[in-house]
């Protein structure tokens, strides 16, 4: 007679259902101690790897077989806890789950391994059009550059006109103060004569325009509500005397832009210098008025003026106010080193060049455009070919073309951000190769037939190039700028059909340049 599992189970349950044991803590401790008090033999016996356990288990169960009976499964199924969503939802709230997750996840940490990243990188899709980013960047930049030409005016024309009028008014008013007995006054360098009531009207415009300037004392003095401008009547003085309180930087809004600043001479420069020196608000003191006519002339370059204005704006949180974006022309000398245009090659190419262009600044941003004539030196752009030319017979020619020099025109389109005398630039340098110096030799049946230097042979060179670049420059005294550009040629440079090797992909070049800014005209 053989017992089935169910019968054994039933027998066991019948026997033990009446049994009861008193639980005592020492029982558990004793049991627990027995677990830890393992002998070395036991430890050795348990020092078995998971793989060995798996192997043992698999070999043991390989011979096992169980008779399947439907009631077993029904019994098992009945014993399972049925999932009821409502019950589950009621049993544990989301917030509790969330807290549990957060509490447990804090303890989690993962060791970083390079292999993980490599594996993930391999799973990423390959960028099939890496040049798109460059071209897109270049296009956006060019667009911005062009757009800048249209937004280059610092203030609206209306405001300009009013400011100009204000300037004339203030200047005229000052002059009026020194000629109080006269009904008409000479204004500035122009021969325009304004009546008192006209001056008043202009002053009214200033007041309307700024909302902070009022006309006081028969139009002979301009001041602000709080601190501001206080232009006192000086009826006996022959000099003009526009009093500017240093604690009122908002006055700068009403300062004449073109007449007062563009000319780095006369009374306007000290005005700006004084304004720039305003560091902390001070109670307006009339005694500290600056007598413009007696101030020394400060020799500031335009860019320094720009810089000071920008600094002032930053310090006093002024609205945008700049000088007009008048370009500064420059001439440039440059030299560079580049990775070879072809691969495989361990050579470098060098270049020298001269150029000219102009740069204009808008706030802290500087835009540069120009053109350079570049003389590139190469020693690895070589074509060795053998040609079998059939005719009545055939001739085998071996010829070599070595592109020693490549002459190109390179445009510069860059946008920079200035901070002090330093500037960071990004831009593009499209180029056009227009000439070359090529050493040519021709051998026929191992006999040199011809050797000459050719100019202008461009068959192996692609004429157009495009280099995105980043750069840094520093302004030195005497309008000299030294800069360094790092660029990468994104267009293939050589015609592989005519050159030994293949195009080097994204050859990097560095270019060092010296620029001398030139001021023309005024």
């Amino acid at each position: 007679m053989s017992w089935t599992d169910g019968e054994i189970d039933k027998l066991f349950q019948d026997r033990v259902k009446d049994l009861s044991f008193e639980y005592k803590g020492e029982y558990w401790n004793q049991f627990n101690a027995s677990l830890s008090a393992r002998t070395p033999e036991m430890a050795a016996a348990t020092a078995i790897t998971d793989a060995e356990i798996d192997k043992l288990y698999q070999s043991s169960v390989a011979q096992l077989s169980f008779e399947y009976k439907k009631e077993y499964w029904e019994s098992f199924d009945a014993s399972r806890v049925k999932y009821v969503p409502e019950v589950a939802a009621a049993s544990i709230a989301d917030t509790v789950i969330d807290q549990l997750y957060q509490a447990n996840s804090k303890g989690l940490s993962f060791e970083y391994k390079d292999a993980y990243w490599t594996e993930m990188a391999a799973m990423l899709p390959q960028n099939r059009r890496p040049d798109f980013l460059w071209f897109g960047t270049a296009a956006v930049f060019v667009g911005l550059l062009i757009a800048t030409l249209f937004i280059g005016e610092p203030v609206s024309s209306t405001t300009d006109r009013l400011l100009t009028e204000n300037s004339a008014t203030i200047d005229g008013n000052n002059r009026n103060k020194s000629n109080s007995n006269n009904s008409a006054n000479e204004i500035n360098d122009t021969d325009q004569v304004l009546e008192n009531n006209q001056v008043d009207n202009l002053l009214d415009k200033i007041a309307e325009n700024t909302n902070s300037v009022q006309v006081l004392e028969n139009g002979n003095s301009v001041t602000t509500n709080s601190t501001g401008l206080n232009s006192e009547p000086t009826s006996t003085s022959e000099s003009t005397g526009m009093n500017i309180s240093p604690s009122n930087p908002s006055l700068s809004q009403n300062l004449p832009s073109e007449p007062a600043i563009v000319e780095p001479r006369g009374s306007a420069i000290p005005n700006l210098a004084n304004v720039n020196n305003i560091q902390t608000p001070v109670t307006p003191v009339v005694d500290e008025d600056i007598f413009i006519g007696d101030l020394p002339t400060v020799d500031l370059e335009r860019e320094e003026l720009d810089e000071q204005i920008v600094n002032l704006q930053d310090q006093v949180n002024m609205p945008d106010f700049r000088m007009p974006t008048i370009p500064r022309f420059y001439v440039e000398l440059n030299g560079g080193l580049s990775q070879s245009l072809i691969t495989p090659s361990d050579r470098f190419s060098s270049s020298v060049g001269v150029g000219l262009g102009f740069q204009f600044q808008k706030g802290r941003f500087a835009f540069t455009t120009g053109v350079n004539g570049i003389w590139n030196f190469h020693d690895d752009i070589v074509l060795n070919r053998q040609a079998k030319v059939y005719g009545f017979g055939s001739d085998v020619y071996q010829y070599t073309l070595k592109y020693d020099h490549i002459y190109s025109l390179e445009a510069v389109l860059a946008m920079g951000y200035k901070f002090g005398i330093h500037q960071i630039n990004v831009g593009i340098r499209p180029s056009y190769a227009f000439g070359s110096k090529v050493g040519f030799s021709l051998m026929e049946e191992d006999v040199e037939m011809e050797r000459e230097v050719l100019y202008g042979h461009m068959e192996g060179i692609k004429r157009f190039g495009l280099k995105p670049m980043i750069g840094y420059s520093i302004d030195l005294p005497s309008n000299i700028t030294i800069g360094l550009n790092i660029g990468a040629q994104i267009m293939s440079s050589v015609n592989e059909e005519y050159i030994n090797g293949q195009n080097n992909r994204l050859p990097i070049d560095g270019q060092l340049y010296f620029r001398k800014s030139i001021s023309f005209g005024r």
């Binding site: 040609a387 059939y390 005719g391 001739d395 002459y407 000439g435 040519f440 042979h457 023309f520 005209g521």
Partner: protein, 362 residues
């Protein structure tokens, strides 16, 4: 303003630099073979390419029996094919062979049948009144002695035939004339002449029905007139009267007679009678093709084989350039099927090939 001018100046300078004269380098480029022949001879295929394996395309103008053969020969040393086109219109010295050849689409292979094309015969000549006192003639062609009294010409050509004549009285004299055999004659004439009692010679042109454009008379190679006939003064001794006749159709022939003003029996007619009596059934050789093959030391010729079914179909003909001799070379593309006969044997071998061949046509 000054600055702008400087910039403009620099820009113009750069543009000038960019547009300066460029050196042009003549870089040789590989090309496909120009001349090649591929086909079979017998059952054996062959391919010969000028420029490969030492093969070369020779081009030349050969002269066969006084007639130009515009030829080319492609050879690698052990295998060669020579193909030539006979000139035609040999009685028209001013014809442009290239104009005719370039318009030929298909032509025939020449065939040396061995049949008489023209017979130089003393008997035939003495049937004419002016030559009736000839006892014997020693014939020579192109300076080469041929035979006594009668010579049969079996190959087409334009020959310079001389007759060393012995008269019945034992006197001797020589007379030479141009004789054309196996080629088409578009016009012809003979000289009628008579010797007067005082040794004066009267000569005229028998145009044989062709329209004469111009006649030039020579006595001993001295031009004496250009009228239809001449009357000379008293001539003593042997003299040669020559007429050069230019016909309206462009044919130019030159013929001579021998006269002796002191003895009217010492005269010899020109040789027109031989041309006139030549068989007309023979196909003229004008612009026919000939082919020579040399392979493994054996020589083959198309002219000695029967080639009734042979053809040469010209699929293209264009000017190629000048050869080393400075003569014009034309590139002839053709499909050829021909029989060639091994020289010295009766073995005939079929041959077919496609070729781009070089032929010199000056």
């Amino acid at each position: 303003m000054k600055g702008r001018k400087s910039i403009l100046f620099c820009a113009v300078g750069l543009l000038a630099l960019a547009s300066c004269k460029k050196d042009v380098v003549d870089i040789p480029e590989s090309n496909d073979p120009v001349f090649r022949t591929i086909g079979t001879i017998g059952t054996e295929p062959f391919e010969i390419v000028a420029g490969d394996n030492g093969a070369y395309m020779f081009t030349m103008t050969e002269v066969q029996n006084g007639v130009d053969v515009f030829s080319g020969k492609i050879s690698d040393g052990s295998f060669s094919i020579e193909m030539g086109i006979y000139d035609g219109m040999v009685d028209r010295p001013s014809h442009e062979a290239v104009d005719i050849i370039t318009n030929i689409i298909s032509t025939e292979f020449s065939h040396n049948t061995g049949f008489p094309l023209l017979t130089l015969s003393k008997d035939e000549l003495t049937t004419m009144a002016g030559s009736q006192y000839i006892e014997q003639i020693v014939w020579s062609i192109d300076g080469i002695y041929q035979d006594l009294n009668e010579v049969v010409i079996t190959e087409p050509g334009k020959y310079y035939v001389c007759a060393d004549v012995t008269f019945l009285d034992g006197a001797t004299a020589s007379i030479c004339n141009e004789v054309i055999a196996g080629y088409k004659l578009d016009a012809n004439f003979m000289i009628d002449f008579s010797v007067g009692l005082q040794g004066a010679v009267t000569a005229s042109v028998d145009d044989m029905g062709n329209t004469v454009q111009e006649v030039r008379w020579f006595v001993d190679e001295d031009l004496v007139g250009n009228t239809e006939y001449i009357e000379t003064g008293s001539l003593s001794g042997y003299h040669t009267i020559t007429a050069e006749v230019e016909f309206e159709n462009g044919v130019v022939r030159r013929k001579s007679v021998l006269v002796d003003g002191s003895n009217e029996q010492h005269t010899v007619n020109d040789f027109t009678i031989f041309e006139y009596q030549a068989p007309t059934t023979v196909e003229p050789r004008d612009f026919n093709i000939r082919l020579f093959v040399e392979k493994d030391g054996k020589k083959y010729s198309s002219e000695t084989a029967k080639n009734e079914d042979a053809y040469l179909l010209i699929t293209g003909l264009e000017y190629y350039g000048k050869n080393d001799a400075g003569n014009n070379v034309y590139k002839v593309s053709a499909d050829v099927k021909v029989q060639v006969r091994e020289v010295g044997t009766s073995n005939t071998t079929p041959m077919s090939f496609t070729t781009v061949f070089g032929i010199e046509i000056p």
